[in-house]
Symmetry: C2
Subunit: 317 residues, 2 copies
C-alpha cells in the first residue's frame, strides 16, 4: 500500500511500529532514522528496518508516510529539519501523548502540499529503547487520531490503514479534548505515581529498604508506572499544563476531603467513597479493557488478552 | 502438628488460609466460623473446611490456634465473644492490615493463659469473599508477625509454622513500626488510588465514558486497587490514623512542589524527579519482588513467580 514509510525516533513506540509495519507487509520499505548513533546501531542489529540512518532530513526523501516518534519536546526541531525535504502529498503523523502542542510544533514547518494527521497510540510499557519494542504492542489497543478540520480525508484514511496494519483500534477526536481525557486517564496517574515513589525515595534509608521489601502491598504498582521514561514525561507535563493543572486541582480537593474524613474518623464518608469507586472498575472490565481474574488467578473466558491478570498481586493492606 | 485450627471470618484471606492449611495437612481439623449464613453456606459448598458454623463463640472450643480474619473494626467484638471459650494454651492470631489497633482490640479480652501473636500476610487481590480465595495466595509472600515483648516464643513458633505451611516467608516486626511501613507501602497507595478514581467518578458523564474507554493509559491500574473491599479499607484508615496522616502530609508537600514545577515550566526539576524514581523500581526487581518483563513481554528467567508480568500494559501517556 505504501512504497516508503519513514519512522523518526526508534524508542519503544517507534521500534515497535517498525516491527509491526514490517510484519504487516503494508510498506515496501521501512526507513528508520534516529539522531543517536547508538540507537541506529541497535536497530541494525535487531534487523527491524530496511534502511537505518542518523540523517533525519534525508530519511524522509520520497517517503509516503513519516512517523515522528520522538519526545514531544523534540517534535519542533524534527519538523524544522524534515519540512523542506518532504515530498508533495506525503502524510506526516506522530505518536505524542499530547496533541495540541504537537500540532503547534509541527504545522508551521510543513509545506502546504503535505498532510498532517496527528496520532496517539494508547500502548506502551515502562521500558524504553528499541530493544524493548515488540510487534504486538498495539494489538487491540486504541490509537487516537486528531486530524484538523481542514485535513484531507484521504490522508486520515492512510494513517488509519497504517494503524490497522499494527492491529490497533482507531478513534477520531478533537486535539484539545484528547488532551483533557488523557490528562485524566494518563497524565495525572503518572504524576501521582511519580510523586508517591518520590516521597518514599526521600525516606530514611532503614525504612526505605523495608518499603522496597514489602512493596507488594500496593506500592509496587506505582513504582512500575514511575519507571517510565523521564524525558517523555517531562515533555508531557510541560506541554499539557492547563489540563493537568485543572485535573490536579480537582484531585487535590478530593484528597483534602479524604484527609479530613480520616482525621475526624468519619467512617461513613470513607465507606461510601470506597464503595463508589468499585463501579468504575466493573465498567472497565465490562468494556473489555481489563480482565476479571477468577478464583485461583485463572483468567475468565471471553475477555480479551489485552491485560495479563494480576494473580495474587498482593493488595491486602 | 495441630489438632484443631479455627478460622473466624471466611473472606478472601480466611478462605484462602482454610484452603492452604487443609492442603498442607498441618491440622487435623479446620473449623470455619462466620456470622454470615450466606458465607457459611458458600464455605460448605466449596468444601474448604471440616466444620462450618455461624456460632463464633463455640467455634473456638478446643482449638489450638484461632485465626481472627475479620475487618479490623470487627476484631474487638469477636475477641469479646471468644475470650471466655478459649482453652488454656491456645494461640490467637489475626490477619489485620494494622497491628497496634488490633492488639489494643484483642488483648483486653483474652485470658492470661492464652497467647497472642498478631500477624499480617502481605497478600491479596481486589476481589472479596470465600469464592475468590485460593490456596496459593500466600506462596512466596511475606507474612509479618508482631508479637509483644512478653509473648511466649513457642507461641510465635506455632504461628510461624502455620504460615510456613501456607508457604509464606516470615518477618518479625514491632507493631508500630509495621503500621508506619505499611502506611507507606499500602495504606497511602490505596488512599491515592481510591481518591483518583473518585475524582474521575465525579466527572461529567460524557467525559467519564471516555475515561473508562481509554483507561489503559495508566488509570486502569488505579481502578484495580480502588476496587478493594470498602469495609476493610475504611477500618484500616480509621485504625492507622497517625501514620497515614503523617505520610499523607509528606506526599502532599511533594505533590505541591510538582504542581509548582509544572506551572512554572521547570523541566529540570521534573526530569530529575522522574529519573530518581526509576531506581526504586530497579531495587524492587533486584530483590525479586517484581519481575522484569523482557522485550515482547517474555518473562526473564530466574525471577520468582510472585508477580504476573504486565505485558503491554498500556502506559504511553
Amino acid at each position: 500500500m505504501f512504497d516508503k514509510v519513514t519512522i523518526i525516533g526508534l524508542g519503544l513506540i517507534g521500534s515497535s511500529m517498525a516491527r509491526a509495519i514490517r510484519a504487516s507487509g503494508i510498506a515496501n520499505t521501512v526507513t528508520a532514522a534516529d539522531i543517536s548513533a547508538e540507537v541506529c546501531k541497535k536497530v541494525i542489529e535487531l534487523e527491524i528496518a530496511d534502511e537505518v540512518t542518523d540523517d533525519i532530513r534525508s530519511s524522509v526523501i520520497g517517503a509516503d508516510i513519516v512517523v515522528v516518534s520522538v519526545p514531544v519536546g523534540a517534535v519542533a526541531a524534527v519538523a524544522e529539519q524534515i519540512g523542506p525535504a518532504l515530498k508533495a502529498g506525503a502524510v506526516v503523523t506522530d505518536v505524542g501523548s499530547v496533541k495540541q502542542a504537537v500540532i503547534d510544533a509541527l504545522k508551521p514547518h510543513l509545506p502546504e502540499s503535505v498532510h498532517l494527521v496527528p496520532g496517539h497510540p494508547i500502548a506502551g510499557t515502562e521500558h524504553s529503547g528499541p530493544e524493548n519494542g515488540f510487534a504486538e504492542l498495539f494489538e487491540n489497543r486504541w490509537c487516537i487520531l486528531t486530524p484538523l478540520p481542514e485535513t484531507d480525508i484521504r490522508a486520515v484514511e492512510k494513517i488509519t490503514a497504517l494503524w490497522e496494519a499494527c492491529k490497533s483500534r482507531i478513534e477520531i477526536m478533537d486535539p484539545q479534548h484528547h488532551d483533557l481525557v488523557l490528562g485524566i486517564t494518563s497524565h495525572l496517574p503518572h504524576l501521582i505515581a511519580y510523586t508517591i515513589v518520590g516521597t518514599a525515595n526521600q525516606l530514611e534509608d532503614d525504612i526505605k529498604s523495608e518499603v522496597i521489601k514489602f512493596s507488594a502491598s500496593g506500592f509496587r504498582d506505582f513504582t512500575r508506572i514511575a519507571a517510565s521514561d523521564p524525558t517523555m514525561w517531562r515533555d508531557v507535563f510541560m506541554n499539557n499544563r492547563p489540563a493537568v493543572l485543572e485535573i490536579l486541582q480537582r484531585f487535590t480537593e478530593d484528597l483534602t476531603a479524604m484527609q479530613k474524613a480520616i482525621r475526624k474518623g468519619d467512617g461513613k464518608f470513607l465507606f461510601d467513597f470506597f464503595s463508589n469507586t468499585r463501579h468504575i472498575r466493573r465498567q472497565i472490565i465490562d468494556l473489555g479493557q481489563a480482565n476479571y481474574v477468577a478464583p485461583g488467578g485463572v483468567q475468565q473466558e471471553g475477555t480479551p488478552p489485552a491485560e495479563v491478570p494480576h494473580k495474587a498481586s498482593g493488595h491486602s493492606g
